[in-house]
């Protein structure tokens, strides 16, 4: 039989039992839609996370106190809440002297109450240097950042996040040049940051207070060390080279001779991106694998209905064989029917998946302040079509073989 005629014959058979065909497809439709939705949402989440990491600046190298004895995939001690005091001004000054380093931004962090008139809220604050705003891509949306002279002079100035500005001052009052109290110290607000949402490291940047490093270290926290140091690499140098230079400096400064006993961890932005990319990819694949269970269930449904169909059409099979159909012709006819069912089911599933992904996008964009990006990866569509077609083949083979092997004499007599 010509392929075109085989498709025509299969289409007619499926159209004859429209409701049955639709119900049979349903399992595949739901399975494919689930895979599409989970892969798309996974991709969107990955984009969101990676964008946030990229959004904190470029060519950055993060220096965190405390070693990571098990390699880059284990969290450094500092990230586990252990206070380590090894990073200090001497290290920062040594980095600044390096030709491959463009900027050095030491940071300290703490928490305290921020108060303006009767409004009182607990916030995270960061003490840092003036170049923080350019290096971290965090220039105020209104007002201006504090300066090096503010840091050197222990000036009580602050740049605050937009959500905090709203909480303390309300919608209509500009916080600029107003005085707030943080940890019982007065600060004049010089700028308000742009809205960024929760950052890649779990810090809510919209509720942040940024103050001069000198004030935070000496007056708010009373510490001589840094929570971390961000180093911006000179664009003429590879970040991995910068990483090796910083490693060398820190080992020298801290007297570390055994590389396994480093008391610091250095991660480039690429390390973080790659790590987060791997985690989100694995998560997406894991979710898609769970969703594919419904595809298997759908496939079994197809096989079941095709077996019923083969039994119901025994006389038809007998007739077709009597008038010249070979086993291969019959096999092809039933395989095409099952593949058509799953292929069309796949197309409907993709459309349904796209609709759900669109709704999720609208809901997340409207009701949450996520920078959610609509992602509908072509790879998910291709995979969905491939998987649906293959499931039609896989689950259609057994019924089709049953049909093809029927004896024409018995089939013609079948009641």
């Amino acid at each position: 039989m010509l392929l075109h005629d085989a498709f025509k014959t299969a289409t007619r058979s499926l159209m004859h039992g429209k409701m049955r065909s639709i119900l049979t497809m349903l399992g595949i439709v739901i399975g494919i839609a689930s895979v599409i939705v989970l892969m798309s949402i996974g991709q969107s989440a990955q984009n969101l996370i990676l964008n946030q990491v990229q959004g904190i600046g470029s060519n950055l190298v993060f220096v965190i106190p405390g070693g990571s004895p098990n390699g880059r995939f284990s969290s450094p001690a500092a990230a586990q809440g252990i206070v380590i005091t090894s990073l200090n001004q001497r290290d920062a000054d040594a980095f600044s002297r390096e030709a491959s380093v463009q900027a050095v931004v030491p940071e300290v962090r703490g928490q305290g109450a921020a108060v303006y008139k009767g409004n009182d809220v607990t916030v995270s604050f960061e003490g840092t240097t003036a170049n923080y705003f350019t290096v971290r891509n965090m220039m105020p949306a209104s007002g201006y950042p504090f300066t090096k002279s503010d840091v050197d002079s222990f000036n009580h100035v602050a740049v605050i996040g937009p959500a905090l500005a709203k909480t303390l001052f309300g919608e209509n009052i500009s916080p600029l040049n107003k005085t707030i109290r943080v940890k019982n110290l007065s600060f004049r607000v010089t700028g308000v940051l742009p809205a960024k949402g929760t950052g890649a490291f779990g810090i809510d940047q919209d509720n942040l207070v940024i103050v001069p490093l000198s004030v935070a270290q000496n007056e708010m926290l009373g510490i001589p060390y840094f929570t971390d140091i961000i180093v911006e690499a000179n664009p003429a140098y590879d970040t991995n080279f910068v990483k090796s230079r910083i490693t060398f400096i820190l080992r020298h400064n801290h007297g570390v001779t055994d590389p396994n006993k480093d008391d610091f961890t250095i991660q480039t932005q690429e390390d973080v991106l790659s790590l987060l990319g791997n985690i989100t990819s694995i998560l997406t694949l894991f979710l898609a694998a769970i969703a594919s269970i419904s595809l298997i269930v759908g496939g079994i449904g197809i096989m079941n209905i095709m077996l019923v169909s083969v039994t119901e059409r025994t006389r038809e099979i007998g007739l077709r064989k009597a008038v010249g159909a070979t086993e291969r012709d019959i096999l092809e006819q039933f395989l095409i029917e099952s593949v058509l069912l799953t292929f069309i089911g796949g197309l409907i599933g993709i459309a349904l998946g796209a609709l759900i992904v669109g709704v999720v996008y609208v809901v997340l964009s409207s009701f949450f302040s996520f920078g959610w990006v609509f992602a509908f990866p072509p790879s998910a569509v291709a995979l969905a079509l491939l998987v649906s077609t293959l499931s039609g083949l896989a689950f259609g083979v057994y019924p089709a073989r049953q049909a093809a092997r029927k004896n024409p004499i018995d089939s013609l007599r079948y009641e």
């Binding site: 039989m1 006389r315 009597a322 008038v323 010249g324 070979t326 004499i409």
Partner: protein
């Protein structure tokens, strides 16, 4: 056209065996109209199944158009059934959800004939049995007689050398049955070889030779005296 020598067919079921054909020999020349008669269990249907390549014998030889069935593989049997044989069944075996056109076209789908030629052949075959006005009617809506005429059109559409008709009037009233037999007789007059299996003497007498079977053997093989009413059958 057909040479059968000492043909045997034995069915094995579990530990018992049934000898449906116990050594049958005869020849059929091109253009003959042969009735195979016999009571239930005489082996006539088994013989028809083997002659029409739907089954293989367990002993003896069967040569069709000069080539033994033993020399042909299953694909070739299917091709011969498609190109050289036409089938008319007692139960019509039409696909009721399809139109007359689609039913008659089925054998041509397996012969890889282009669509335009298929259309011309289907229309001619349906015209030959006088049902051209029903071409696009679903066969489920036709009367029994009309269904069998469409089944004959389906048998004719590949222009076969031989037509096998298995109790073609068994499900029809006498008038419709006679119409069907007249069509077969007319086809014979135009040179077509026809083998008709029946248990009814009246039906068998439309042929020009009757092979009577009993207990898997040929009881008699005789030419029949032509009944006057069988003369002058016509086909459009």
């Amino acid at each position: 056209m057909i040479e059968v020598r000492d043909l045997k067919k034995e069915y094995l079921e579990e530990e018992t065996s049934t000898r449906a054909l116990r050594g049958v020999s005869f020849s059929i020349k091109k253009g003959e109209f042969v009735s195979i008669m016999g009571p239930s269990g005489s082996g006539k249907s088994t013989l028809l199944n083997i002659l029409s390549f739907l089954d293989r014998p367990t002993g003896g030889s069967y040569t069709f158009l000069g080539k033994s069935i033993d020399e042909r593989d299953d694909r070739e049997l299917a091709r011969v059934r498609n190109e050289d044989m036409g089938f008319v069944f007692q139960a019509f075996n039409l696909l009721s959800r399809l139109t007359v056109y689609d039913n008659v076209e089925i054998p041509l789908l397996y012969s890889k004939i282009p669509a335009a030629e298929r259309r011309a052949r289907v229309e001619k075959a349906v015209r030959d049995v006088g049902l051209e006005e029903k071409l696009h009617t679903e066969t489920g809506r036709l009367s029994g007689g009309q269904k069998q005429r469409i089944a004959i059109a389906r048998a004719l559409v590949t222009d076969p050398n031989i037509i096998f008709a298995d109790e073609p009037t068994g499900n029809l009233d006498s008038q419709s049955g006679e119409q069907v037999l007249e069509i077969l007789a007319a086809l014979h007059q135009r040179g077509r070889t026809i083998i008709l299996v029946t248990h009814e003497t009246n039906t068998a007498e439309f042929a020009n030779r009757i092979i009577r079977m009993k207990d898997g053997l040929i009881e008699s093989d005789t030419p029949i005296v032509r009944s006057p009413r069988a003369n002058g059958h016509s086909i459009k």
